[in-house]
Symmetry: C2
Subunit: 229 residues, 2 copies
Amino acid sequence: MHHEEHLHSSDVLKDIVIGMSDGLTVPFALAAGLSGAVDNTGVIIIAGIAEIAAGSIAMGLGGFLAGKTELDHYNSELKREYWEVDNLPDKEQEEVRVFFKSLGLSEDVQNKAMAELTKDKDVWVDFMMKYELNLEKPDPKRARKSAFNIGVSYIVGGLVPLSPYFFVTNPEQGLIISVGITLICLYVFGFFKSRLTGVNAVTGGFKMMLTGALAAGAAFGIAKLIEGK
Amino acid sequence: MHHEEHLHSSDVLKDIVIGMSDGLTVPFALAAGLSGAVDNTGVIIIAGIAEIAAGSIAMGLGGFLAGKTELDHYNSELKREYWEVDNLPDKEQEEVRVFFKSLGLSEDVQNKAMAELTKDKDVWVDFMMKYELNLEKPDPKRARKSAFNIGVSYIVGGLVPLSPYFFVTNPEQGLIISVGITLICLYVFGFFKSRLTGVNAVTGGFKMMLTGALAAGAAFGIAKLIEGK
């Protein structure tokens, strides 16, 4: 028996990927940038923790509010579809027929399918929401869970590049250790993230590492440049 | 004549929203956090610019690579669907029938639609991609444009909260001006963002402002706490 293996990652894993991608990259690059410009690790630690707090709240709360907005949007479109089905049934019926036409079905089947589908108003509206507007009913509890998962993942990711600075006093020493462990983590993270979506994992690991390295390199270069003035 | 007004924002506007949401929030909160902990604006400017560089690259390049991955994923699933249609036609035909069943159509129409749809292999696979796997063919050029739009929006957004620090020497003075202009910008941005998605714009403006204020407040509080030790 053939087993169908289209990979679909779960919602929680998606949240972790979203939070950790940025969490590993941005605080890493900020710490690297500051390492090229300041002479003690105290400032790097304060800036790094402030960034992690800011980033996790912005991403988590941002995600939460976006989820709420999505729900509002869905409900307002739902109300509108019910209104349209009640007040402009011919037009909405035609839209159902056009959907079946777009699939390449014969006129006979288009009309039969349209007639059956528009018999029940709830089925009809449900169909319009999904296939005309491409809107899935959002889970009201998802927004809160998602916010939490993304925020925590950002914090966990952000503490990786920052942690070396807690144990050394010289920023450059901290930077060397931070670059080492963060690039390894970015590779491992990119590797497993790619496995989830079913694309080449080795390439995925390198891509993630490259993003982090470029962001950190740019931040370091720019900070050195400003500091040099 | 009734005009159908379901609002769909364009891709460019979506990119701007993604980049600017984070650009206005995270550098704002970082600068606020540092204002509570350091005694000159030089460090804040360096950290802020390093963060903007890091964030715009992480978001832009991250978006670009994510777009590429999406394309790879689409192509690998497409190959798999062709393989399945060739090697397991009965199973795949049944999946088409089940789709029409899920719409609530009669067995007669299910079978007719299935028979018509599976006559042409390309139409059939195209259908499976869209309605079994929920995958739309990604535009190969989108990834690059999107990366650029997101990155630039992040920079523009990030320069708003940072700019006051260029003109004052006292961090607390900078913070007061930065809070003022950034909260206004967050409100205006949230207002127009909500208009695009068709939800209440006044509430949307306040939500965006709240996110920024909470992130900045937390960063400020945490930085003060660490500094106090």
